[in-house]
Chain length 340, copies 3
């Protein structure tokens, strides 16, 4: 994709300052940009890069006064940051939307329907009786089991696996290697010390506007559904166990795990490598610090916790500060004992 | 799959109380059940739901006396919980067993044999000289390298990768995205600070009745075998390094990792996000608490440990209790020092 | 692959002691070797196994004097360990190199070029405008998006996913299930508590001689590149976030995670299950102990840290020693208070 600076200025309702026939084909930071790239200058802390950048064009503020000559063509707009963000979004959307049609071979089972303007990559597999909406992109080597439902405008990257009966909403993105609907880890201990499988016949439900990271796993419910509510974003390598419910507009960072039947509230922030035990409830707007282990329910909204096991993060911080000095503390105590 | 209540009652040797022509097509919890679902009532704590449920049918005890009218058809049996479990197992088994035949295209290398009544999904790959038993289900996009052996009645879900020479027993289940037989992480440091690969030519052996979770990774041995013994259940996103041996009837929860050459005993319980260092031995019936780091061998059977590094869980619990109060402890010590 | 003992002795420039027509087809440890295997004896601690081994042949030192009769044929060389390592490498290289040609079906997009002597497994997918070097092995079900570059002699195992614009150097190995180039986890919080995606248009760059473990995920940069420098080895299930840079000749063990924009130096050792927060810098030759949480930059080369949060490992070790005795410490303090 190559554009003239004039085309981009028109799109952004900006004015060109310099050669408007210059062509750009990528977006870059002003300090890293090469020939052919379009950069932007918003924070004047970076102004010195404007005079040395190799970018072919730079988006700047309408009222910016130049202190030195600039080799790049300038596009002057009211809000350079916002204009650049707009371009970034056009770019990413265009990349995905450019994928259309059906590559050969791919597999689709009996009774499955798929909406308009879709992409199905080679070696993708759709089972029987699936209902898939409009503008859905299914990349190569995706597996979609029987009776799966997928809403409009959802993108499923290469190699995602959706087990039978999974429900995915609209405007969702699922990254490569994610697995939705694998059996919950339910094992009934027998008298002889062996384990018998507890059948797992439920499913996974993603509501709308959800993002699932690469190689994340979400188990199906024993019965009923493991549910991720609207707008929630889940990072890579996260584990969501059977019958978990993650509320709306919550973020869960990489390598965290939520054990069976726990309920995480809305607008929560779960940092990386956190573990949450089973059968507990986390209140709305809770923040859990990285590597924490949440061993009991959080009842009050807006709570911030840290540690393994986790408790109030300020209290944890103070305890950790003393922890480092424990050898001195012990020595002082010994000295006191001798004196007394 | 749709059944009349009478068909189900016959299967369970129960009696129908109500309309025996009502049809059900799914199983659900009594508090969540909708029309068309069959639920059960075992624990009388949930009895109130019996009078309000939308389930089409409910399995209840033979001797249950109704306190109010019930809209659902009842199936009366001796042990409702056990009867319902039986149905759940029928349901799950039927789902898997319904998959038979060979979808097109799929790949099978020279000299490979596969037993009766199998399923091979589209885009599945079987290398050369493999020996695969009867009633094996190989879902779409599974990769099976050369010289792999798989026992009877094993199910391998979509996208599993089995490297060359892997051995899988009978009655095993391997969930999507699991990787067995990738190279062990063996690197010989060189004089100049770089690393040279230690060749990894061993394999992975799963005995019978084993379950491997989604996106779990098990590395091949440097030489010989990385072994998972009979009946052991491994959850999602678990890492098992080269030359590890996990004993029989042990459970390993999600996101735990076992480092190279360590041996975990039989009947152990390894909770989630546990790390076990290399070259140690964990005695039979050991329990390791969540997020623990096991840094040395556990010699006594039945030991319970917790913490990072892990030690006796009761001692850890008491230490953690004091840990939270460290700031106060420090203050008290300061006050004492001033007084003395 | 079957060889006579004489063929192997010739390769190693060794002398045969016994029947030189004996055939071997695998390599094994002397204490585990079966008929048909070739073992070695280097450390004389293991000499007793020489007299009882079932190996068909054993590599021993030129000057070894036998104390008892040996059933295996011996191959006498100057340095048995080094000779055996050479064979291991031949073996592993031969296994990979034996894969050549193009299996059917596989997909290659318009404008993509691939060098000589390559292997492309069935159901592998190569997008448009890719440049792939010589001697590259692409196993079944690999996905390579558009505009991807791959250097010579690189092996990509079954099911790896490389998003559009990924760059992989020469002599790299990427294990099954690894995902390179998935979107960075960048979300701009909105006034109403929801999140808007920050477009992620950068890529992932692996330099030469890199190994990536099974099911590891490396996100693309927001803009620019997430970079892994030459010779670095990354284990299974590791998470590398957007805009991270991992230096040369560094090892990162399983299940560790590096958050966005952090820079890890050269010659570092990151043990298993470590978490590194975003936007920090780790000096060259830093060692981070297992399960540590690195919350701030490490400025001095050769630092060794441990703990969550991590600090000097010796200090941490001493603090952990006191931590275990906290209940006694508290009791002693109580007693002192009473006395004073």
């Amino acid at each position: 994709m190559e554009f003239t600076v004039q085309q981009i200025a028109d799109l952004l309702q900006g004015k060109v300052d310099g050669d408007n026939t210059v062509k750009v084909s990528t977006l870059a930071k002003i300090e890293e940009a090469q020939k052919g790239a379009l950069a932007f200058l918003s924070n004047l802390k970076y102004e010195s890069f404007l005079y040395s950048t190799e970018a072919s064009a730079v988006i700047v503020a309408s009222n910016l006064e130049l202190k030195k000559p600039v080799s790049a063509t300038l596009i002057r707009v009211n809000d350079p940051y916002s204009s650049f963000s707009t371009l970034l979004q056009y770019y990413q959307t265009a990349l995905i939307a450019s994928k259309t049609g059906v590559e050969d071979p791919c597999f689709i089972g009996q009774g499955s329907q798929i909406g308009e303007n879709h992409y199905r990559g080679a070696f993708s597999y759709i089972g029987a009786n699936c209902k898939i909406g409009d503008n859905v992109r299914i990349f190569p080597q995706v597996y979609i089991g029987d009776n799966v439902t997928i809403g409009d405008n959802t993108t499923i990257f290469a190699g995602v696996k959706l087990y039978t009966n999974t429900v995915v909403g609209s405007n969702c993105t699922i990254h490569s290697g994610a697995v939705l609907g694998s059996d919950g880890f339910g094992w009934a201990p027998q008298a002889d010390g062996t384990y018998k499988a507890v059948p797992q016949i439920g499913n996974v439900v993603l509501e709308d506007d959800i993002s699932i990271g690469a190689n994340t796993t979400i188990d199906c419910a024993t019965m009923g559904s493991t549910i991720i509510r609207q707008g929630t974003k889940i990072d890579n390598l996260v584990q969501i166990a059977h019958n978990v419910e993650v509320g709306a507009h919550t973020v869960v960072a990489s390598q965290s795990g939520i054990s069976g039947s726990s309920k995480v509230g809305n607008y929560c922030v779960i940092a990386g490598q956190v573990g949450i035990v089973g059968h507990i409830t986390i209140a709305d707007k809770t923040t859990v610090g990285a590597q924490s282990g949440v061993s009991k329910s959080v009842k009050e909204q807006g709570t911030i916790i840290q540690g393994s096991p986790a408790f109030d993060y300020k209290q944890n911080l103070r305890a950790m500060t003393v922890f480092r000095k424990l050898p001195e503390l012990q020595r002082e105590l010994e000295m006191l004992k001798e004196r007394v």
